[in-house]
Every structure is written in C-alpha cells, then in structure tokens.
Symmetry: C2
Subunit: 476 residues, 2 copies
C-alpha cells in the first residue's frame, strides 16, 4: 500500500454491515462466533472453470480496515451511538480466514473462502471481500481463457486502462497478469504490483509530423532498439508497412533491429498475412506483428483459426471489463453461528446454502487429473469418505474411495495475523498454468464445457436435508 | 482528495503516453501547441442520449498528476533518460480544458471535451481523461434511464458495491446519484462525495436469531424509527410479512412507525401486491415496500407495467457495471497541431475525425426543446450559421437560422487553473433533470430511440473534405 493506492478503510462497506454491527454490539452478541462462506453460483460467460484471484489485495485492505476520526465523525452524523463508535475506533479484524491459493482453478457452489470469528467482525468485512474477490477472479478467468487460445510463441498484454471501469483498471491489470498476460500499459498498476509495462506510440504521434515516414524516423531516433511502429494511421499496406520496412532497413545499417509493427484497425487476418509477406520479402523475418482492436478470447481464436500472422495481442475493453459477463455473482453466507449450523432458505432450491463448518478437497483421478471436488464437514476424514453426493439429489453420487486428495484451501490469516501470501503475479500465474494442465480439455472449451462435479459428504448431505426440513416445519 | 481516495498521480497513464512524451521532449516539440478532442462514437445500450459525468474527479486527479521520487525511480528503471525525468519532476498540466457541465445531455460524435496546450502535456493526460469520463458518463446514463421509468413517488438507490468492478464502486456511486439515485450503500463513497447513505439489514441478521420474529424485534429495539425489515429469509408471505406486521404494530404502541419492508427474491410483482394488501389490511398503509434483486431499467419498467406495489428499488450489479454495455467507447483525437488542423483517417469513413479547433452549440426549436447540436469552427458566429450538415453527406442538412442557440461547453480549466466546478452530485442531478425535460420523449425510449442530429458548419464540412482528399492524394 502507498499513497497512490487507496487504503479502503473501514467505511469501504455496505452501510447495512454497519447498522447490523451496531445491532450486534447493542445486543451484546458481537463476540458470538460465526463462520461465513464465500462462493459464487454461476460460471461467468459459461466458462468451465474460474481462476481464483484477489486475495493479496483483500488481505492488504483488511489490514487498513480501521476507523479514523473522520470516519467516526461521519458515522456519528448518521446517528451511530458513542459506545459503538468507541468500539469501532479500536476495531481490528481478529478472525481466521481459509482460502485457496491465488491462481487456483475453482468451481461454482464450493465454499472457497471461510471467514471465522465474532459475528460483528466477520459480517463487517463482507462487502470488502466480495468487491475485491469477485472482480479479480472474473478478470483472471477471462485472461486465462485468452491464454488458452494462443499459439506457441504468441503473447498478450493488457491495454485496457482507458475503458476500464474507473479505478478498476488497477486490479484488472494485476488479474490479467495472473491470468496469463505478459504485462500492462497501466503504468501505475505496473509499478504498484510489479508488472511488466508495455507501450510505444499512438496515432497522434504520427499525426504530429508532416508524414508517416518522418514520424517513424523521429521515433526510432529516440528508441532505436525497442520500437513498435503503429502502421494503420493512413493506410496499412500502402503506407504504414512500406514506411516501417524503410525505417527497419535504416535501423539495420546502424546495427539495430525494429521490434514490431502494430495494426490497430481493419481486417487483422488479411492485413497480417500481407504485412508478414512484405516484411519477409524485405528480409525482416524478425519483425513481429502485434494486433490491438476489440480483441477477446473468441476473436483471437478466430484469427488463429484463419492463420493470421500475429505474434502478440494488445487486449483492452473486452478483457478489463469482462465485456460479455461483467460481474461474478459471488456471495457470502452465514453457515455457523454460536456453534450451530445455519442455512439460508430460498424459493429456488439450488440457492439454499451449505450449513456447518466445512473443508474442501480436490480429488484426482488415476492419471493425476482433477476429478471431483469434495466438501466435507469439518472433522471428517477425507480418506474415510467413500462417496460424495450432489447436494440436492442423493441418487447423483460418485465413489472417491482410494483416490488421491489434497486440501484446496489453506489458512491465510490466523486470528488477525496474515500468513504472508505469494505476492508476485507472475509466480501466481505460473501456479495457475500448472493447475490448468490438470484440468481436462473438455472443461476448457468455450461452448458447453463439461461440468466439473462438486459433491458433499453423506454427513453434510444429511445435515442440510434435516435443516431444510426443520425450517419448513417452522415457517410454512 | 484524502488518504482513502487514490490520488492517481502521473503514472496513472498508458505507458505509450510516456514514451511519446519523451519522444516529443527529445525532439524539442513538447511545447508545440495542440488541441485534442474527446468524443464517443456509439450510444451505450442503444440509448438515445448520454449523461456527461466525471469532470470533478478528472479535474481533481489532474491536480495530483505529478511525478514523485518513487515514480521517477520506476521510470528510470524502464530506461527513461535523466533530462526527461528532470523535466517530469517539475511537470504540471498548464493547459486549457473546455467541457459541458456535468449532468449535461450529450450525444455521440460531438467534441465534448477539448484539451488545448503543449503536445506533451495534452497527450500525457489522455488515459486519465478517458478512464474517468467514460465510466462515470456510462453509469450516470444508466441511472438516468432507471429514473425515467419510475412512477411518481418511487425512488432508487445504489446497492452495487459487492459486484462493482473493484474500486470502480466509488465512481459508480457518485455517477448513480448524478443519474438520479437517491443515495448509495457504499459508505466510503457516501462520505467522500457527500452522498446519502442507505441500508439496514442482511439475511445473516435474521439467521443469527432463533426465529425471524425475534430477529425483527431485536433490530427495531435498536432502530425503532427507521427500520427496513428484510422479509424473504424463510418465506415472504407466510413468515416475513406477518412477522413484520406484528413488529410494526408493536412499534405503534411505542409511538414509532416501521419504515419499510424489503423483498430480495421471488416474483416481485406478485409478492409486492400481496404484501401491500396484507400491510394495508393491518392499517399499515405508511409502511413502504422496497425491492432489490437484479434490477435495471428494463425490469423496473416491467414491474411498473404490472402494477407491482413498490415504493423503492435497490439497484446493484446491473447499474454499477452497466451490465449489458459495460464500456463507453470514448476516444481522444488530435485535431490541431502547430496551428494546423489534423485528421485521423480510417478505413471506416464514419471513424474519420473532425479536424480543427471547434465550438459546440445546442440549437433549440420554437418550443424550447433540444433540436440539433451544431459543431462550428472556432471563430464562426453561430448566429450567422444558416445550415448544418451531416459530416459525411452534404445532402443531409438542416436549416438552423434564427433558432435559439447556446454554447454547450465552458472553460473548466484555464492554463492550468481550475475554475471551481459544481461538486454536489444532487445539484448536478437537478441540472440533469432540467435538461432532460428539454429532450423529446422519442429520444428517451429504450427501443430504437429517435436519433438526435449533430451537424457541422459548411466551413468545417469543407475543411474535413479537403483534408481527406489531400491525405488520399498522399498515401494511396
């Protein structure tokens, strides 16, 4: 954290978390122990998987989640009472948080994060957690899908700052790198998160000179060893590429090599093939071709299917806003209070939550590939769990006895103390790559991906069914 | 600005703005005068209008757009040279900015903001301007569309923090209020921007008590005069509403009135009608009904067409991400350099920009309604402009002689000095309301709205046509 990055503070929350917090405080319930679970219900853009991301920022924000004088003054004006404000002035989150590693491959309807502690503190951080985890997981997922359609040697970078949703550009850049982007054009995000920063010239550079050739020459005078020339300001094939070739040959005379040309408009498949041909004929096989116009995983896949000759992609709006599905629907539900399992009933059966304190396991098949995820009640031994069940349909079940299992979640904060997480987005991305290799290809396709199965133990199945019955008995 | 809000700083920019800046500097061009225009090309979600917003944040950010030691150290590591870094260490934006008032009703392809100054400074702030103006204008527009479908007495508020794109929640809350929201649940945004803050209880409050009635009673003990009870935790009509009625009657005994009930799931049309009936039969006509489940302008319109009995709406994800159209495609194009008009050519004729320094006028019809917007070259007298033309088709033109006109833009920064803008989002929203009354209903409808016409003067038409011809002569 530093002055260029917002330390959200204790008011970075939905107001009702505060009114409820005062309620718990006044009722003397605030230290009664609770467990909340974070999970999302729907796969974004129909993806077969999600890349979990955002924990580093969340843990950082949690440590600045405090109430300063100006915050307390604001709350007093809203009518909060002095004893509660006094309590808030000393507030520090002292709970325990369990979560997957960033970069983990995860699925819907599994308890990804569990937050344990007093009901007041665990409730108060709900909005902060949802806000930061939902968005970065969404963008890391879209980026990972882009990586999945690249050919060998191709790379992509985040160019989205100008169309990012305001300050979301910071987190979009980080999440894009976790998902596989090589870097970002967002200079401040690059500095804050240790990302590679990328960019050379805009059309306006070309327009400030009398002609395009002059503009290219003046640019490579300054950057002889790393220039990427933008070739579509006037006419890509009749002006931009021929001028870039002239400049590249002039650079060769001086012992330099032009890095790349960039095409920002027109038919990328056609233009890249023609430009490649022109560059190769001039002996400039080493000059790369970069494309950057409304790209996403679908368009890049299409360009690659057409054998477009592209070495890199600048991806903007459609990545950083996740254009076709701009929100992950993550929620945060109470599952234990005062030691008792709690349930959120819903008219929609599939929306009824999983009660109790739970553990989450990844089960592998004989080939070392991800096979199932298993949700057990805390204390159950996964080695003794023979079968897991669809939470709503008992007849849908799978035998997992004897298969290798690993815990999918780890303690990231213990009674208010952070266990320092991996912060380097490139190392996190490498972990993601490893994990993605263990996910079957049929779950990676974009159209109707195979649904990865997440099941519950017999004990959890029964607990949930019995709690539903008892609520129905009481409330209908 | 304060410590909870990010002062973006001079690195809040696409990296190529910096490489170009060093290029201009090294070439000794950096003080050559330029004009850039901001405009957007496509109406978001097919809207017939856009609400212009984001200038206060942009002007604030511009004043913190500086390079501190840590920024310069980062740039040095990227290979920037000492003389340029020394220049940056003293960098202050000293240009002039002309823009509409926030809350103005605007249209595509008109130069909304013009930025005049040295080429280096005007280029360097491009990404910052695009990032902040695109997003807030988008959200203010969606909010204004929501307001347009409300019935008399209905209100709506922003509940979107948890699904907002990370830190974008700040600006979404502000823009929502500019667009007509009564307030926000985002407590930090409320404090920073002076917004009304809203919220009472979540399902977890209900779940922490043995039963719903107990949960309601304990809540109104703390908030007897302003409680909104969430009634859908177990069963809205058989449990939630009857319990809320009991509590409301108990409150009446103590001289208080229950404020509202909130329904967060199920069929809002059906449930609200039934709940209204139950409340009225209990003599609780004053208790309001609030709804909050995946709402946007389309769903609220639909609920109102079904005569749902709803007094207020909590609008989240679909507003704060502008779900169906999560980006406004605003761009920033060079139109003048060294006193000469500049043009960006494109394969797509409609994307060719408007050259030269321009003024923008709103033309009224005889009834005082918005009729046309007129773009003139600087120095042209709008009173002497008899006809305006479609920029591409001379035969499409409109006579505006004798009609009332007003300048749509004003100087908001003069040679680096801000002219203090209206900061109060509620006053800005009131201005928007006034302006919206002058926009014909057929431009406000959601399906195929009538297209508001924006034309150019004869002189601008000719300048653009001649510049296109001269480029074609040179480059084909």
């Amino acid at each position: 954290m530093n002055k260029h990055f917002p330390a959200p503070g204790g008011l970075y929350t939905d107001y009702y978390e505060l009114t409820m917090a005062q309620g718990y405080f006044k009722q003397g319930l605030h230290e009664d122990q609770a467990v909340f679970d974070y999970f999302f219900r729907r796969m974004p853009c129909g993806s077969g998987y999600v890349i979990f991301a955002g924990m580093v920022d969340f843990l950082d924000a949690l440590q600045s989640f405090r109430y300063e004088e100006e915050d307390l003054a604001f709350l007093k004006k809203q009518g909060f009472e002095d004893d509660f404000l006094d309590f808030l002035s000393r507030f520090r989150f002292k709970g325990t948080i369990i979560a997957p590693r960033e970069g983990e491959v995860v699925f819907n309807n599994e308890p990804l994060i569990s937050v344990e502690g007093g009901i007041l503190e665990t409730q108060l951080i709900e909005s902060l957690l949802l806000n930061l985890i939902n968005f970065q997981s969404l963008i890391a997922t879209r980026a990972s899908r882009i990586e999945s359609v690249l050919k060998a040697g191709q790379t992509f970078v985040d160019f989205g700052l100008r169309r990012a949703q305001g300050l979301a550009g910071y987190q979009a850049a980080r999440a894009a790198v976790i998902g596989g982007a090589g870097g970002t054009s967002h200079t401040q995000a690059a500095r804050l998160y240790g990302l590679k920063v990328i960019g050379t010239m805009a059309h306006s550079w070309i327009q400030t000179f009398d002609d395009e050739l002059e503009a290219f020459r003046r640019y490579v005078e300054i950057y002889p060893d790393k220039a990427t020339l933008l070739v579509d300001t006037y006419d890509t094939l009749h002006s931009g590429v021929p001028n870039a070739i002239k400049v590249a040959k002039e650079l060769e005379q001086k012992g330099y090599r032009l890095n790349a040309i960039r095409i920002d408009s027109g038919d990328m498949a056609y233009l890249s093939v023609k430009a490649r041909q022109m560059l190769d004929e001039a002996g400039l096989e080493y000059v790369k071709i970069i494309s950057s116009n409304s790209l996403d995983e679908y368009l890049i896949r299409s360009l690659n299917l057409q054998d477009a000759k592209l070495d890199g992609f600048g991806v903007g709006t459609r990545l950083v806003t996740s254009y076709q599905c701009p929100a992950l629907d993550g929620v945060y539900k109470l599952s234990v209070f005062k030691g008792l399992p709690r349930l959120k009933i819903s008219e929609d059966v599939a929306k009824i939550s999983l009660p109790g304190k739970k553990t989450l396991w990844r089960v592998y098949d004989e080939n070392g590939m991800f096979y199932r995820d298993a949700i057990l009640l805390s204390g159950e031994n996964p080695e003794e769990t023979e079968t897991i069940f669809h939470p709503d349909y008992e007849f849908k079940n799978t035998r997992i006895a004897g298969l290798p299992k690993e815990p999918l979640r780890h303690t990231v904060m213990k009674e208010g103390q952070v266990i320092p997480p991996e912060r380097n987005p490139y190392i996190i991305s490498e972990y993601r790559r490893e994990r993605m290799r263990k996910l079957s290809p049929e779950m990676k396709r974009f159209e109707n991906p195979h649904v990865y199965k997440v099941g519950v133990s017999r004990k959890l199945f029964d607990l949930r069914r019995n709690l539903i019955k008892s609520h129905i008995g009481k409330n209908f």
